[in-house]
Amino acid sequence: MTRVAALNASSWWSLRLRWRRRTGRPRLPVLSMALCILLIFAAVAGGAIAPFAPDEPDFTAILAPPFWMEGGSTMHLLGTDQLGRDMLSRLIGGARVSLLTAGAAVLVAGTIGVALGLIAGYLGGLVEAAIMRVVDAFLALPFILMALAFVSALGTGIGNIILVMILTNWARYARLVRSEVVSIKKRDFVLLARVAGVRPMAIALRHVLPNAMTSILVLAVLDIGRAIILESSLSFLGLGIQPPDVSWGLALAEGRTYMSVAWWLTVWPGVAIVLGVMSFNLVGDWLRASFDPRGVL
């Protein structure tokens, strides 16, 4: 694989990482970490901390503005939507769905991709060629179009969207792990283990995989931001999470109709997406720069 093709494969995060590598080491992103933890907390605690249920209408407060504006009240801090549903509660519900889909997708896609990449890189030969061509086919489209192709066959809803995100993402891990394995397996300790008669499977799992783990973890953290964008894009297009489930992208699509009278319906979910994506990206950058200065991603 050439440099250019590798760059293409890992597209924008690799760019950001290259930029880091050449311009120095970042400081600890305290704010981003705090935000990530807050988001995860909101996702886990969900209903316990939200003032209302995300789909609970309040017919006395339809399209109520945020509390500091005229007509707003502290009961609905960020205002309400066209059915009087509390925006803050909907954002918390959206965090749950976004992080659940992103987390599940990254976990499963990562596991499948790592396993196949390990097999391809370690065995080499025909097996490697076959796996890598399939990987190429899965990366042959811009990821949103690939996701749309899968959605057209599988359908929408939380379960299907997780499946779609797994299908669009696993190949990236396979490609990364294969290239890591190819370079690791030439190193002395692996050769020594082989000479000592350790079985190939044991070498791959006990010696090669741990050495590739840092890059995999960094890719996974950066992938969460990407997955959040993908899920919200699909939901915005009407091809992702479906009502009555809540999602930031879905909230944006619904709020669009009321954009000229109620800005808060489209501003808040967007702010949530940007803060979420940016926090995970910055934490990923920092992890990467701190633990893996070689830069193979």
């Binding site: 050439t2 293409n8 930029w19 749309l148 964008i229 994506v277």
Partner: protein
């Protein structure tokens, strides 16, 4: 050099073939299209006739070969919705998409390259920090939200530009800015990284010692060395823009491939979905292949 080109072209063709298998499998996963196409009052005999007509009763591998033969001759089937060949619909939509992506690319270069160079020359300054923030935002803000915010500010609050449609020059402004914002972030970071590296290189340091004017060093020597990866990356970025265009088109009701494919999925118009996906893939892979080959020509180390 020669073997490298052949290998890359071979890889691309195999990838494309695997992609057709993938698309075919997905199409079969959606089940039998007969109920979608036939009216509800059709008899069982009609349905059987339809299945035989379209070869749906034959074994899967035979169906795949027919599918492959058809798409190779440009026949993706007829749109269930528009009763027109799917290929024609996609070809009509690809023009607006390429216009949108092309203009956005240009805008992203005009913004990103100077920003990247300037930031590389003022490493660690407040200016560099602002540029860093701009690029970080550009990558974290989903394009549909940028688009909606632009509509809210520049066509609802201050009615300057139209919020949707295609045709006039004014229609181009908001969609292009939306897409260019996202692309300019990566162009900026890439230029920044490569310029920094070039400015640190031995020959630039040497020129400094020799007292050659800084402007001359930056523009003539450093930039030239940094430009190879930048130029090739722009080709790849163009492919990524085709993806970004899908969502942007939907926001601004732009009559491109993205709009077409989303409508087609919502209407379960599978021939159009397949045609859009496969033709975009061909375009995307051709661009990538050209970029790789160009890189190999310009930098002989690659093919070694």
């Amino acid at each position: 050099m020669g073997p490298f080109i052949l290998k890359r072209i071979g890889q691309t063709l195999i990838t494309l073939l695997l992609l057709t298998i993938l698309i075919f499998t997905l199409a079969r996963l959606t089940g039998d299209p007969t109920p979608l196409v036939m009216p509800s009052e059709a008899t069982d005999a009609d349905r059987t006739f339809f299945r035989e007509q379209y070869g749906l009763d034959r074994p899967l591998h035979e169906q795949y070969l027919v599918f492959l033969r058809n798409i190779l001759s440009g026949d993706f089937g007829v749109s269930f919705r528009y009763r027109e060949p799917a290929m024609n619909l996609v070809l009509a939509a690809i023009g607006p998409t390429l216009q949108l992506a092309g203009l956005s690319m240009l805008l992203a270069i005009i913004i990103g390259v100077p920003l990247g160079i300037a930031a590389a020359l003022r490493q660690g300054s407040w200016f560099a920090a602002i540029v860093r923030g701009y690029a970080g935002l550009g990558q974290a803000m989903p394009s549909f939200w940028v688009g909606l915010m632009l509509i809210m500010l520049l066509s609802i609050t201050l009615p300057i530009f139209p919020s949707s449609g295609y045709g006039g020059v004014a229609n181009f402004v908001l969609p292009c800015v939306t897409l260019a914002f996202f692309a300019s972030a990566s162009v900026t970071l890439l230029t920044w990284a490569n310029m920094t590296e070039a400015m640190r290189s031995d020959f630039v340091q040497m020129e400094r010692v020799l007292g050659i004017p800084n402007r001359l060093i930056v523009l003539k020597h450093a930039l030239r060395n940094a430009s190879l990866p930048i130029v090739t990356y722009l080709g790849l970025q163009f492919g990524l823009l085709l993806g970004g265009a899908v969502v942007t088109e939907r926001v601004f009701a732009w009559p491109g491939v993205g709009q077409l494919v989303v409508e087609a999925i919502l209407n379960r118009d599978f021939p159009v979905v397949q045609a859009s996906v496969l033709l975009t893939a061909v375009l995307f892979m051709t661009v990538n292949l050209c970029v790789d080959l160009l890189y190999a020509v310009l930098d002989p180390r690659v093919s070694a």
